[in-house]
Amino acid sequence: MSKQRVVVVGNGMVGHKFIDNLLQDTKADEFEIITFSEEPRLAYDRVQLSSYFTGATAADLALTDEGYYNDNGVNFVLNDKVTELNTSDNYVVTASGRKESYDKLVLATGSFPFVPPIPGNDQEHCLVYRTIEDLEAINASASQSKVGVVVGGGLLGLEAANALKAAGLETHVVEFAPRLMAVQLDEGGGNLLRRKIEDLGVNVHTEKATTEIVAGETCRYRMNFADGSHLETDMILFSAGIRPQDELARQFDLEIGERGGIVVNDFCQTNVDNVYAIGECALWGGRIFGLVAPGYTMAKVAVSHITGGEEKFLGADMSTKLKLLGVDVASIGDAHGNTPGAQSYTYNDEIEQVYKRLIVSEDGKKVLGAVLVGDVDAYGNLLQMMLNDMDLPENPAGLILPNTGGEEAMGLGVDALPETAQICSCYDVTKGDIMAAVANGCTDMAAIKGETKASTGCGGCAALTKQVLDAELANLGYEVKNDICEHFAYSRKELADIIRVKKIKTFDELLDSHGKGLGCDVCKPAVGSILASYWNDYVLEEEHMGLQDTNDIFLGNMQKDGTYSIVPRVAGGEITPDKLIVLGEVAKEFNLYTKVTGGQRIDLFGAQLHELPIIWKKLVDAGFETGHAYGKSVRTVKSCVGSTWCRYGVNDSVGFAINIEDRYKGLRSPHKLKFAVSGCTRECAEAQCKDVGVIATENGWNLYVCGNGGMRPRHADLFATDLDDDTLIKYVDRFLMFYIRTADRLQRTSVWLENLEGGLDYLKEVIIDDKLGLGAELEAEMAANIGNYQCEWKTTVESSEKLKRFQHFINSDDTDSNLAYVVEREQRRPATKEERIQSVELVD
């Protein structure tokens, strides 16, 4: 039997999906495929198009390649548009005159951007946003422009605005409707989105109808609006919606909808035998589906019909979740509450800029839709509840109210989902599919993605997929693997136990007895830290050298240009004028950029390798010690001035801060440690956002633990109250050593506590009540550590052998010729790439 010829017109995302599905089909052998594209390349990911502006290449966006098509016998013709269609003799003709007959014809011609018929819209810098070629044109135009306008405030328009903003242009969005994303968002959501986008520096103009584009006065063009106002711009991007690309079908007698689109039935058949239409060019039930997921479903349905199956396309959910200009936006189902009798709950937080509206049925039992702006965490839950027609919980408002702590966040939990629940809409993956994949041995996200393709499309379902995976793993009794890296099948905690119990003193000893390979930049510093925590050798002993990050080897913080910063210890933030003068003199002599840190110290930037020992010699001679700012170790103990000067202070916070900083300085730990001591409850030292916080009371000290500032702030927990000095030190000794023993690599105390089984109460039992009987052991380990303290810089500058490393070249006294600086606000800083190219006035 000869093969049936399938001609696919258009090789976009949906056209390719059709081909891919047909190739995967058991009857694939019965078909010969040929596909045409008017674009110069095979299918690529149009959904991720804007990533092209943040560094993705055409190759990154590609969904397939010529090799795959060649290997599977797919004929493809690029740069050649199909221009003629003969449905009585079953053939197509291309622009180049090529004629191909078909048994089955699949039209996947997609859509084209709608450009409003405005006089002057055809000028050189008036562009659209759909193909990679369009992006290249936008790039070229942006490089000659200062101001850019996007016409259209919908989803694609805002993507395009992001592109212009990324290109460094003053960016405007002009929208005809009264609000942004009018299709997906209600008024409240649209208003907040506008506010957030304007905060990002994008100018939004709504209710503007452009009447003409003429020559500008301050820019290349001027757009005149119907209300008499105008806007000057150098380039214009039209993104005012899409229109189905139905030209071919229109010319050759296929049934077309009133407002365009090739009419198809539930099998994606057109009104002509053996001709199918799928994706954005197809009109089903009077609707065009402008998202990729429904297009993929149509591709599947068409393959099914061609191979004798009976799958049907029955419409698609158009809910979306995405990030526009960095703003999270989601729209579910009936977002406008158009269903008769629909009621709604609204949560509008103008301070945190979060808007959520939940639309429910007349009887208040079902989710009909939702709008989420600024916080879209509820998307997965709400979408599943709607799609699976699940009953709302007793208090539906809880689904959109913020989690104010205490209670578990309100959610339905993946266990409540039926197995038929669709988790990934791009690839139509259900909860049951994921469960089956787990049962077949997939135990991590990478495996799930490979097996089911879930969350490999838009990625919006990644969190939900992970939840299903984790829940299923737990149900099957899997233990979640916590190996530190490929070289050791142990967690950091287990490695710490091995090192302590077996008294292992070097990395090689540990690798030989418990690991494999050579180690890596993950396990080496972690083991180096554990070794230092327990045995506290000089970190630059030869056998430990290879374990250390560059910061630890050269005892400074590497900056972006390869130079280092220098932070001497200023315990408690107390410094004499003489010492301050020394710092100033050293900074001046070596022309170091100088800045005061958040930890009440002075940071000196821009020291080259060979300068480090010279600078530190001067500092050590003047009585400074290293501040360990480079290490995963105790950093600073911040203090307020306390009772010695302050009218309100009830205890000597500076004195106590200096005590504990001297006690724990240099202590290596899984991550950096920051402390603070406040002299009264006014808390000027901000102790409650520190790993260890101490606040003076009338009756002694209150101890707080496991707070954090920075990336993920957490208030510290009150651990014990009204302590005397010795008891407080005892608790802190035990606390720190217990953390060092049990935490994961790079796990701050805050996260460690949150993951500690039994939580704060358990920690109190271990530290205060000594439930595990470890107290004395932990204190002894700390005492040994303190006893072995040495200032690494003092040791280093006293050893000529160690100093040999502090030279850029082993065989030359030259220095790195790549360094270049400019002066800003009377100090130097590294030159940017542009400044180097333009070679503006560089200084040494």
């Binding site: 490929e486 070289h487 090689d508 390979g517 050579l518 180690g519 890596c520 930049d521 396990c523 080496k524 510093p525 030869e542 050298m545 290879g546 374990l547 250390q548 990050d549 560059t550 910061n551 080897i553 050269f554 590497m558 972006k560 240009d561 390869g562 040999k804 490393r805 850029h808 070249f809 082993i810 065989n811 030359s812 030259d814 790195d816 790549n818 790439k833």
Partner: protein, 109 residues
């Protein structure tokens, strides 16, 4: 016949760490593996962080490949081929290197 140029002594090498040598006007990062006693030489310039820092990275292995991790942004470079594991569009120049009579030698161009 190829010429070998001595850049330093074997004693200057610390196992499992790197050093930087100036070789015919170029910065070369040299690594010595304590386990297999092999030496490796690649360009010292990190093409991603755009600074001369690779000799100061941590040496290790990923699978069978002996690698160095950039101290700036932690990408791994294969010390034999120069290829970047995370961003394969970047490849470091590699240099022929040998240990000869207690000396570390690079080949003249």
């Amino acid at each position: 016949m190829s010429n070998w140029i001595t850049v330093c002594s074997e004693n200057d090498l610390t196992p499992s760490t790197g050093i930087c040598a100036l070789h015919e006007g170029e910065q070369v990062a040299i690594f010595f593996c304590g386990k297999n006693k092999e030496v490796y030489a690649v360009s010292n310039f990190d093409p991603i962080g755009e600074a001369n820092v690779l000799s100061r990275g941590i040496m290790g292995s990923i699978g069978e490949d002996v690698v160095v991790a950039s101290p700036l942004y932690k990408q791994h470079f294969n010390l034999k081929t120069g290829e970047c594991l995370e961003e394969p569009e970047h490849t470091l120049k590699t240099y022929p290197i040998r240990l000869e009579g207690g000396e570390v030698q690079l080949q003249a161009a």
